[in-house]
Symmetry: C2
Subunit: 230 residues, 2 copies
């Protein structure tokens, strides 16, 4: 399943995946799309419901050129996602950009938006593989040590695949783009307040056997030099 | 402009704002909607473009019963947002839920989804007030110490208002909902790996006057006991 970045389908901009505002923030390298998708925790899925767009947060995973989504077979949003065009956005906020003038305040971010039509994954082996990809995205290293899906669980689950061909990536980084006159006037602080996500210490389930230790795939994810145990 | 939570318009569920999956996660208290919107940094705006949903990350702000969005008058997404129905989602991820079985992995989150039609804000005073709300959402306390928008900047900016009446809030918290049989089998760690956003030390702009200190509204936002200065 693993392909090198070179072998992957390049980003193919269409009118809706072509960045029209702040073009200097657009990225055309396919590896940057993968990097944003792999760094995000959730995506925002846009579907059409009764002719109106509906945006819903959901879990996802990526393997090669495919983004996988899943949910209950009874979920209206997934049925809508199968019936029409969809849009999926993954955004990482990296900082608040403080400027010398109100209109130049901004955010530093990495953002990927994918457009297309989702296809239901029906092949049994591919379905299990897709669920592994989604689980490993949320909890890397966990799949192999937990109970795999039962036939009943699989029957109640819908898995969708979205091709990553039609996508755009935007990145903003660095300080504010203040007007020369405002910089010259001086006296006002300008810069970036960085923001990032950190893991806190894992909290064992209330019904956990006392003898079971936190596995390394969970513990290694936390940065124990930064995060105090509560 | 400020109203008490009691005086606010209650959440009025319509078919598209009624939670149909995992109903136990739905919240009906209007104050919970405000809390999620106020805690988020960005929203994901869903608009219709050429009959397809397009999801885009964008900055926002809330005042009372109104969500404000802004952008360039030339931005296609804002023009689309004015022309048809929109959906706005704000999601905060609070943790990864590790379960004893693959299908019970989940995320803890707080999520708000608003549906409706945006109205362009044209009244000059209300436009400036809306931009203040958006700026103060991203950078609380900054508006009063930076240069206000010029007439030229205001003319190039579109401000949209979205009523918060048609909205839904979902919250998941706590540990995994494992099957009794898997809990009884035992031996597998289960629990929550909490995640949260932290501010790092502010980075002054490269062209900042050496004498200008970091203002208290920026510095007070950082938690200096947790975040090492880089």
């Amino acid at each position: 399943m693993t392909r090198s970045a070179d072998a992957r389908t390049p980003l193919s901009p269409t009118p809706r995946s072509t960045v029209t505002r702040s073009k200097e923030r657009a990225r055309s390298d396919r590896a940057e799309l993968d990097a944003v998708l792999d760094a995000g925790l959730i995506c925002h899925l846009g579907v059409l419901l009764g002719g109106a767009p509906v945006v819903l947060p959901t879990i996802y995973g990526r393997a090669g050129d495919t983004l996988y989504l899943h949910g209950s077979t009874g979920a209206g949003n997934l049925r809508a996602a199968m019936a029409g065009p969809i849009s999926v956005a993954v955004t990482l906020v990296d900082g608040i950009v403080y400027a010398r003038s109100a209109m130049h305040f901004s955010m530093n971010y990495r953002s990927a938006v994918v457009h297309g039509r989702a296809v239901e994954v029906t092949d049994p082996a591919q379905r299990v593989r897709a669920l592994e990809v989604i689980t490993e995205h949320a909890a890397p290293g966990a799949w192999s040590r937990v109970r795999p899906p039962s036939k009943k669980e699989l029957a109640a689950t819908m898995v969708l695949a979205l091709d990553l061909t039609e996508a755009s990536v935007k990145v903003r980084s660095g300080g504010p783009n203040d007007d020369a006159a405002d910089i010259e006037t001086g006296g006002v602080w300008a810069g970036v307040l960085p923001v990032r996500q950190v893991w806190d210490a894992p909290i064992g389930s209330a019904d956990l056997d006392p003898g079971v230790e936190v596995p390394s795939d969970v513990l290694d994810r936390t940065d124990r030099t930064l995060i105090p145990v509560r």
